[in-house]
Symmetry: D2
Subunit: 147 residues, 4 copies
């Protein structure tokens, strides 16, 4: 993973709280839990733009994750509040690339950063789409600030 | 599980949204996911009363679940919003019994009901406590409306 | 949950090991993790009888859990081996009822017991089936020892 | 993530089966599930070398994941068997780097590849260790084939 960009001011903020089931024996968030939160943050970000992820699925497109990278800097402990900052980076291809910066809420220290890449596929054939279908195309234009 | 009581008006309401990682191959919420949400709802309910669950743990008490029962009536599908209604039922023993009614947000139809029983133990010895220590005792009195 | 029957000698045995992601801050298995293992044990038990659960799904039947109850007696700690004993109890209705006894491997002490009830539904309409379709019907007859 | 090395012949093989709780609405394994399997595979690999991960923890060392990257090439569907190939790559630093190649069992097609980096820390202070303590040091020498 190349050095991540700093979260833009416009980054979506998804609040989380560390509940017992997020932790492991060490009393800190188990490393895989952040993958759940990153997914929640990108779906919630879309929703904040009026896009219902489930509608894309119903329209016959699926968006599997094709690449994932996460760097863990500091541990979140049980009971704390944190913010998942999430923003999509416009691409030349049909892929969608999300970047994340998960910050402890009080200190705003960056704890975990990550990048998740998704590729649109046809749900029936599971083949990669070369062009984005509507309404996905205009939804994304809006997300990238061009719509 | 005996027939559950109807949620009291004072029941705590914890909002949830069905994200992809909550679902299984059937496109509905996987049955074990509700256990996560019930845990989140009871910790959030305590927090709404000024009680930080993590503080109880740091005070040397743990609260393992000793009994769990869930009845599934209707499935929540991907993308919907729902409400976990949660309330604690006062007990004669030191056990804490939570009841849940998880309702689809728009229709307010009851989808899943459940009961979770927790028993306070000493964290070091893992023995059941016969009497609740402070601040747990007064925290619970407040929760039950007697404090 | 009524007092559970003792595991019959013919009960299926599904081995598990407690990995870090199964634990919570207390260093023991998080209570919801057992739900995963119970599902794995019943699917593996069917498989040991030559039944592929995924084939039932492909045949248009789904088997959602409609009732779940779990009693936690002793905690499994990180790194231990355990056995999920699983057996199906023949029913007069189309429901399938599984019972579980999860035992620490070395001591054979019973740690968690549970009951999970599933109801066959038509996958398209999500309506409860009144009669079991083939091959499910003969698969289950074999499972119950009558086939 | 640079192009991953091909799994050496000596790579540890950890068998998995796709159960319902591993899947999401698309009927394939949810992308985060692979993180669980990678953890299971590395702990099982250590165990195959006579190393009990829980013993390291009890000895006062923890091994948090500091870096994770996963590339998804093909989806595993419900009901299939697969193999997690896992091997540790010797490092000059105290970090432990695991590589993974998850292959569908029948075809041996590579479905998911990944790299997970862990850093040993002192469990009490949560500070990074500059030198590996015993028995971790000799355990790892054995793992890397030098012991």
């Amino acid at each position: 993973m190349s050095e991540p960009a700093i979260a833009p001011e416009s980054a979506f903020e998804y609040p989380i709280h560390v509940y017992p089931h997020h932790t492991d024996y060490a009393g800190i968030v188990w490393h895989g839990t952040y993958i759940n939160w990153m997914e929640e943050a990108r779906v919630a970000c879309l929703q904040s733009q009026g896009v219902n992820f489930a509608d894309w699925i119903e329209a016959g497109v699926d968006l599997p994750v094709v690449d994932l990278s996460v760097r863990y800097r500091r541990s979140l402990v049980m009971g704390v509040d944190a913010i998942v900052k999430a923003w999509a980076v416009p691409q030349k291809s049909v892929r969608i690339v999300w970047q994340y910066d998960i910050q402890e809420q009080t200190t705003r220290e960056s704890c975990v950063i990550g990048t998740v890449t998704l590729a649109p596929i046809d749900r029936a054939s599971r083949r990669v789409l070369r062009r984005l279908p509507e309404p996905m195309k205009s939804d994304l234009a809006r997300l990238y600030g061009g719509g």
